[in-house]
Symmetry: C2
């Protein structure tokens, strides 16, 4: 981890710094993922790495150790343990969640204060991507496109008409050197109905919005200032104090006052309307590990009969069973004559559902919260 | 518990002493029931009493405190805690399992040594019976029948053509005073096929063999001596030493040498062939709690939606689910969109199956034993 990024002379790739927002509990992965141990701190693919560590390692060939991580103050120790390379000044700790506008906006402002020519790339800590070289190729194209003055989103070629993702409608090819597949963005659209999603997929003009942005920090801030002047001013004040002894004092004073807004509304959509957004279609495999059915799909390594087993200490016995077992205990788990089941076994909570119902875990968590079982959430 | 049994003067009911064999792990109820905490030590009906305690309480109106309990030496503390009324000399502790011939035979021999006119009744500790007054009526008839010189089994009127029980074919009514429903036994038959079971039920001549015997101890021992002279001699030697300071020394020396045989083969079947066995048909509800589907049926008290929940500390959340949850932990258990499921949650082992497959738990336990997971069995 002591080597630095390898780039061409005078390449825009030299200006690249990666930002990793590590937030989001991953409610649909309860009881494994929860407030105290969110999704990004788990190894959900059986790779041996947490999703956070895998994200860092995937970005390292592009950014070297030039990375900023934004996470909740409660996760400081866990994140530092996963990413010992991260310096204190590159770890942005949110004292309370303020949505992605403040999180990514502050990263942009800090990086701009350090070097206004920086190109930032924001990549959530809880996604699964493979193969990595195709991802890195797409990011390189996005960096070249950003250097030409665009906010660039990396969209994912849809494999099915998902109703769980937003879509991006792409337009003309931009013909940017080093970015042959970059296209203009016509519009961002919300999660569609199944019929509409099918039309999107059939048209060939739409990609999934995976929430990945690559952009010149100056352009990010220009749109942020225009659309969210209060948020922009607060972030600027924190950023100016960031690399000074006043960092914590200023952050602690300003952060709680910031408005909550998603980066999509604060920057991406208005920038798209202004013609400043491009898209690079990703042809790599991508999964946001949204539920346990997805966890099952991503783990083909260890199967006991037709049951996918996740968890080092798992002692699973199956007879005439299929599905997914996620074990966070060392208990013996016996499955007999039950199909497509999802079992998540943790020290204080047990989930039993089916692959088909795994999206409904979120509602169960809401119900548990409502009835006062917050100790296990 | 200080009152004694209420009987008529000079009634055979005065000669009655109850024997409770408390053995059998109840493998099909794993992981709740296991070697260290067998079935009879659990409250499987949600009544607030263990099966053992409920058995004692059901027999108390007939036997008062005149009861003998036969159990494994490992369960001494648990049994004494459940039945503080039992004296040391009325607690027969098996240093190793020797099947029901030795267990019930030793009880008969001890009681005969104390009073050869005793009528004993043997009732397993892990059955569920209701209503109790109809059971007690049947036992009283059985005691009167025993006083007339019979070994009397209480059979259960079949409610369906079960292939899981042995059957008893009844013959002519015996016309014994105090026992209007007592009949001769033509034969004991093994667990039948489904077709044969249906014929048995249709004929009206067959009852389920519930393993309940009422008999003069002298008659039990006469048949035991005739059919199993080695077993008889060993049991006699222990019985003669039982109420002396040599009890433990003699028992520890003889018990390991005794042959293993079921009481059915050692006494009941040869006695039936000799015309010495009668049957009193029981018209009470009876369940041997053979599997978790049965546990579900017996517990209608606490339902969370369509899920029967057993266990004091259970924190169960259900959505669109049905089945049985047996909780031996205080964990939150969330069931979402899963039907007819059986979940048994214990500190070191978890079972997930369906009501339809609950009989197959035994095979799973055998497989776990074979692969070396004996720590949870």
């Amino acid at each position: 981890m002591t080597t630095d990024k390898v780039t061409n002379q005078d390449s825009p790739l030299d200006r690249f710094i990666a930002v990793i927002p590590a937030g989001g509990v991953g409610t649909r992965l309860w009881p494994l993922s929860r407030a105290a141990a969110p999704k990004f701190l788990h190894d959900l693919t059986g790779s041996g790495s947490t999703l956070l560590r895998a994200t860092y390692d995937r970005l390292h060939p592009l950014a070297g150790t030039h990375m900023l991580v934004v996470t909740g103050v409660a996760h400081r120790a866990a994140v530092c343990s996963q990413l010992p390379e991260i310096k204190d000044s590159d770890l942005v700790l949110e004292s309370e969640p303020k949505d992605s506008g403040a999180a990514i906006g502050l990263a942009a402002a800090i990086l701009h204060e350090r070097d206004p020519d920086t190109i930032m790339g924001s990549f959530a800590a809880d996604q699964v991507i493979s193969p990595e070289d195709l991802f890195q190729d797409a990011v390189r194209e996005a960096i070249h496109t950003a250097a030409a003055g665009k906010i660039v989103t990396i969209g994912i070629k849809p494999t099915h008409p998902s109703t769980g993702f937003g879509y991006i409608r792409s337009g003309a090819t931009l013909n940017i050197p080093g970015a042959p597949s970059a296209q203009s963005v016509v519009e961002f659209v919300e999660k569609p109905s199944e019929d509409v999603a099918q039309q999107y997929v059939d048209s060939g003009e739409y990609v999934w919005n995976a929430g990945m942005f690559v952009a010149p920090v100056a352009l990010m801030l220009k749109h942020l200032e225009a659309n969210q002047p209060v948020l922009f001013a607060g972030l600027q004040e924190i950023a100016r104090a960031w690399d000074t002894p006043q960092r914590d004092e200023v952050k602690d004073r300003i952060w709680p006052t910031l408005p909550k807004i998603a980066i999509d509304y604060a920057v991406a959509e208005p920038a798209a309307a202004a013609g400043d957004v491009a898209v690079v279609p990703g042809i790599f495999g991508w999964d946001d590990v949204g539920d346990f059915a997805s966890v099952g799909r991503l783990n083909s390594a260890r199967e006991v009969d037709d049951v996918t087993v996740l968890g080092e200490g798992a002692r699973v016995f199956t007879e005439n069973a299929s599905g997914v077992v996620v074990s966070d205990t060392k208990r013996v788990i016996a499955l007999i004559g039950i199909k497509d089941v999802v079992i998540v076994d943790t020290p204080d909570a047990l989930l039993v559902t089916t692959k088909a119902h795994s999206q409904r875990v979120k509602q169960a968590v809401d119900a548990l919260k409502a009835r006062g079982d917050a100790d296990v959430l």
